[in-house]
């Protein structure tokens, strides 16, 4: 096994699995182009081959040198302390990864689950909206429980959850909650400060982008969030 660790093997396995998965999918567009004899799939397959070679090369490097940095590399060792932060904060255990990926899955559950339930129950639009509201509430509750003890995972998942909610609940209703959430996860506990900063930042965003630039931000499509968003835009514009 040389200097190999489980993490190195997992890393190589991820790259190689991705390569195999995308190679299989490349047959879907393996079509001839009259004026170009290499067709549409040669370039992607060449890139996949290089990825596979580099992943194996990386594995061989770890086998020989462990976690050491490469020679002649420019700008990493001192410029990027992300790795050190990971080790120092003990966020590189398998448990932490599993926990974090569970948190990251929550937004994607919201993006798909209500549609599946509505389709299974043959629900119309109002019914779908109700399912979405209930799903959002349940998933937020699960998120709040799951972030206890994993603030970094919580910060990674929160923006994606915010992005997943934008279409249905709108920027205007979600942004204040999102701003408060980020501040809280970054360790701020002075609630008066949090509310003041949130109000100031939200007002600045609205004044600059909505009033001044007339930028249409997502207003949502579920009542009462939609009504709140459009009402705010009417006042500001």
């Amino acid at each position: 096994m040389g200097n190999l660790k489980t993490g190195h093997i997992v890393e190589a396995a991820i790259w190689l699995s991705l390569t195999i998965f995308l190679y299989i999918y490349s047959f879907e567009f393996d079509k001839e182009i009259e004026i170009y004899k290499y067709g549409a799939s040669s370039w992607p397959r060449a890139i996949l081959l290089l990825i596979a070679i580099a992943a194996i090369g990386q594995l061989a490097f770890h086998w020989r040198s462990g976690d050491g940095a490469g020679t002649s590399m420019i700008g990493q060792a001192t410029a990027d302390s992300a790795e050190d932060a990971a080790h120092e904060s003990h966020h590189d255990s398998a448990r932490w990864y599993a926990w974090t990926f569970f948190l990251l899955a929550i937004p994607f559950v919201y993006l798909n689950l209500p549609e599946w339930i509505a389709a299974a129950m043959s629900l119309e639009k109002p019914g779908l909206h109700t399912v979405k509201l209930i799903s959002a509430a349940v998933l937020v509750a699960i998120y709040l429980i799951a972030i206890r003890g994993n603030h970094v995972g919580g910060i990674l998942a929160l923006p994606i959850l915010f992005g997943a909610f934008l279409q249905d609940f709108g920027f205007y209703a979600m942004a204040p909650v999102f701003i408060l959430g980020v501040m809280y996860l970054f360790g701020e506990r002075r609630y008066k400060h949090m509310v003041l900063v949130m109000a100031g930042l939200f007002a600045l965003l609205l004044m600059f982008f909505v009033s001044l630039l007339y930028l249409g931000l997502p207003a949502g499509n579920i009542s009462p969030f939609y009504d709140f968003g459009t009402g705010l835009v009417n006042i500001l514009q």
């Binding site: 567009f29 182009i33 370039w43 580099a54 420019i74 990971a86 992005g163 701003i179 360790g187």
Partner: protein, 495 residues
């Protein structure tokens, strides 16, 4: 004389337009400020502003980015000196001696040296850029066809693979991941859908703006979040104390050497300023009578690194404007600004948009000069904004990024793509991959595949056709030699 007249024309056009003046000073202050805020960089600002440049004229958009580039490279030195957190890879060598100087109670002198040397290196580089870019572009029109551009992309990627990542292999995997993202969507020759997984969103390809916003701005917030989790946020404190004229004159050889090194490194597509800073610093150590003093707080270390990285900024515009090839992450975003205005950077820009080129050149010249004055004022006044705690800065940056990603096409899925890219960038960075490499791969991948297809059609699918084109052949050989050297280093040199 013609160059001087063009420069005067660009200067008049820049300063006779109130909006242009506003954007110029906004870029100068914004670049310095974002470069100087620990945890974010000029790339964060550029990524946030990128979507909004669609509402500006091409002149204003490109000018804004070039100004941010000049002042942001300097701004990153402040965090390197004060907190040992380089604002960008090109400021990393500045920290080698700058941070020990802070610990020795000489922070002001180090920051002062960075102000003066960045201004000097950048201004000289801007002058050479004005003289050299147009002749190179004129030559490029006749000498550079698709085979040469493909060969240059290959060479640029080969060199860039050694920057930013922990190992050569991770450098390549980063670039290849970018090339992979660039493939999604329609193929450039036959318009065949590739890896769209029957999702209409992916048909048009993954848009580079949410991706860039995610990999730079959002990833940076996540990395800082992890640092906050271990409780290591340092409250900024600052003073400024310029080095004396005698001290600068004593280092004149280091300054001149770093300008020359910086400029020639800057021309290379892919890594420009980073290689310049490291080589400038390395040469200073190599030529020094007392090399053992470096790394312990030697003023010459800061001078060499900061002169070289700013000297590369002007040079990096040469491959961008003369050949359409970005020299780094920020110049790659400039390609994005061109594309948003249905323009392609390259030799024809000098014919079709000469006004734009000279406004940009004038802006870069004055931006570098302004580092001297605004940089001094900034370290005295605006720098107080650094006192904003990161927990208040983070939601502001995330909200701006959200608006920026959404504004591109009015799709909430772009916001999700951005945040997912941010999370992926976070995991890749903590594993030693380079997010700058991914973005370079993404931008150069599209250019690379297109020019490869055109080159092969042009050469009737005969690979030997490259032998008859000396520039393309030379670049491909240089690329393979670079690769060979890196592979040799990865396998046979002692780690």
């Amino acid at each position: 004389m013609e160059t001087f007249n063009n420069f005067l024309g660009g200067t008049v056009a820049l300063f006779s337009d109130p909006l242009g003046i506003l954007i110029f000073f906004g870029g100068v202050i914004g670049g310095m400020l974002f470069g100087a805020i620990p945890g974010v960089s000029m790339l964060t600002l550029a990524a946030i502003l990128l979507p909004f440049t669609a509402h500006l004229s091409p002149e204003h958009g490109i000018m804004l980015f070039s100004v941010i580039y000049c002042t942001g490279v300097y701004g990153g030195a402040i965090t390197a000196i004060l907190f040992n957190i380089p604002g960008a890879p090109e400021n990393a060598p500045t920290a080698f001696d700058g941070y020990p100087m802070t610990k020795n109670g000489q922070a002001g002198k180090a920051v002062g040296a960075a102000v003066m040397c960045s201004a000097l290196g950048g201004t000289v580089s801007a002058v050479i850029m004005m003289i050299a870019t147009a002749p190179i572009a004129n030559w490029a029109i006749s000498a550079f066809g698709p085979p040469e551009i493909f060969a240059l992309v290959f060479f640029g990627l080969a060199v860039a693979s050694s920057v930013g990542a922990k190992t050569f292999w991770k450098g390549w995997l980063s670039i290849l991941a970018g090339l992979l993202i660039a493939i999604v969507g329609l193929d450039p020759v036959g318009g065949i859908e590739r890896w769209d997984f029957n999702m209409p969103y992916l048909l048009a390809g993954i848009h580079f703006i949410p991706t860039i916003l995610g990999f730079f701005a959002v990833t940076e917030i996540f990395v800082q979040a992890e640092k906050k989790a271990k409780g290591s946020y340092v409250a900024p404190k600052l003073s400024v104390d310029f080095p004396t004229l005698a001290e600068l004159i004593a280092h004149k050889v280091a300054v001149i050497r770093s300008i020359v090194i910086g400029f020639f490194c800057g021309i290379l597509p892919g890594i420009g300023a980073t290689l310049a800073a490291f080589m400038g610093y390395n040469e200073a150590v190599r030529w020094s009578k007392n090399p053992s003093e470096f790394g312990k707080g030697k003023l010459e270390g800061v001078i060499s690194s900061e002169t070289a990285n700013n000297a590369a900024t002007g040079a990096a515009m040469i491959p961008l404007l003369a050949l359409g090839l970005p020299g780094g992450a920020l110049t790659a975003m400039m390609v994005g600004v061109f594309q948003m205005h249905d323009m392609e950077p390259g030799p024809l820009v000098f014919i079709n948009s000469a006004d734009l080129v000279w406004v940009v050149f004038a802006a870069m010249f004055f931006a570098n000069l302004s580092i001297l004055f605004v940089g001094y004022l900034e370290t005295k006044t605006i720098i107080n904004l650094l006192r904003i705690p990161f927990q208040f800065l983070a939601p502001m940056i995330l909200c701006l990024a959200t608006v920026g990603a959404y504004a591109v096409r009015g799709l909430t899925i772009d916001v999700i793509v951005m945040f997912v890219a941010g999370a992926i960038g976070f995991f890749l960075r903590r594993s030693g991959y380079s997010v700058a490499g991914i973005v370079l791969g993404l931008i150069l991948g599209r250019i690379g595949e297109q020019t490869f297809a055109q080159a092969m059609q042009m050469l009737h699918f005969e690979w030997s056709g490259f032998i008859g084109r000396p520039i393309a052949l030379g670049l491909i050989i240089a690329g393979f030699l670079t690769l060979g050297g890196s592979i040799y280093g990865a396998f046979f040199k002692k780690v």
